[in-house]
Amino acid sequence: MPAPVPDRPATSDEAALQARFDATIAADHRIEPRDWMPEGYRKTLIRQIAQHAHSEIIGMQPEGDWLLAAPSLRRKAILLAKVQDEAGHGMYLYSAAETLGADRADLTDKLIEGRQKYSSIFNYPTLTYADVGVIGWFVDGAAICNQVPLCRSSYGPYARAMIRVCKEESFHQRQGYELLMTMMRGTPEQRAMVQDAVDRWWWPSLMMFGPPDDDSPNSAQSMAWGIKRHSNDELRQRYVDMSVPQADVLGVTLPDPDLTYDPDSGHYRFGAIDWTEFKRVISGNGPANAERIARRRAARDDNAWVTEAATAYAAKHAS
């Protein structure tokens, strides 16, 4: 793994620009699109924002699979609104990435070609309807932990997109938890279905926060730039502490025999995470990687005629 290259100003002009950039960051002010910024800052942000956008877009698929099988009109309307929100999140983020000079269609191409990634969590299949509830509770819950600090990101357009996203995520988590509460009041089979979904999604949700801090050498630079506000382990711990009492109220068991409350620190201690699985899934060998990308590719290619028709219509009416 090559070490991150520090941005060295080449000329005195650039040194002055760098100094002003540093001062803006030090004052906790926002960097805006037309400001000078170090190349490393710009590239890191594009990677982060673009792949965050990809995660939102691919994230529509596992839940979208249940749109036609939702058990009532009420649940269907809720799920449709939730999946539509995720599309919106992706669009807000692509919009922010474009302010950095990225091209939206190019980013989609890079996703489809596998050159840019998305969150590994979306490479797991949704086997039962309880998965919809557990995704809302766990996955959107973890996303909230990640995204709330991003509302203070040093890059203005990203921070503003995150504020908009965070306002919507709360609905996502609550509808999932409410769905699970309803199932837990149902038959023994329904309760077993919830527990099974919890068992399958808990560990992948903890992996959403990324590798442990001692395995994240680039974090320091991102912290210094104000585009990362908390370490991976800090966010993961916060998430575990929030989730345990929620599991208790719901009446499910989190699948970790080592999960214990540590009264001295006030935190829940949890077992070892299987990072080999994480590595396997994010590098393309999860249960649903190929399916997710194939569907995204089909959406681009099969709908190209709509794009072309709209373009032709616009051209005809412009004259």
């Binding site: 090559p2 919009s95 590798p211 373009t311």
Partner: protein, 122 residues
């Protein structure tokens, strides 16, 4: 491998190291819809405020897309869209010398003037 993954990918950790390309490739199928900036009036009595951007084939489609994208929960009562290319900005930089002169005209602000406390209604 895991070295460059950060939780700051929002919906889960994503790699942020140099192995992830960012430079736009010369496109074969780049679509040529223009970029529109979107402004929303949150409610009567407020100004239209910039909320983001989108691509659309024409002005009318841009308004429809803006409605779906930025006002799913009564966030607005009116939308403006304008092609980004049609916006003229003060300068290429947000911190603009154009605004420097107003910094030393403190006498334009009411706080510049000392008025005794016993003067009412001022």
């Amino acid at each position: 491998m895991s070295a460059d993954l950060t939780s700051e990918g929002g919906h889960g950790a994503v790699p942020t190291g140099p192995e992830v390309p960012v430079a736009p490739a010369p496109a074969l199928s780049r679509r040529d819809w223009p970029l529109y900036e979107v402004f929303v009036r949150g409610k009567r009595g407020l100004n239209h405020v910039h909320v983001g951007s989108l691509h659309a084939p024409d002005d009318e489609m841009a308004v429809h897309a803006a409605r779906d994208l930025y006002t799913r929960r009564n966030e607005g009562v009116s939308i403006w869209v304008v092609q980004a290319a049609d916006i003229t900005a003060s300068s290429p930089d947000e911190k603009d010398p154009m605004f420097a002169p107003s910094g030393d005209k403190v006498y334009r602000h009411p706080t510049f003037y000392d008025i005794p406390d016993n003067v009412p209604h001022m």
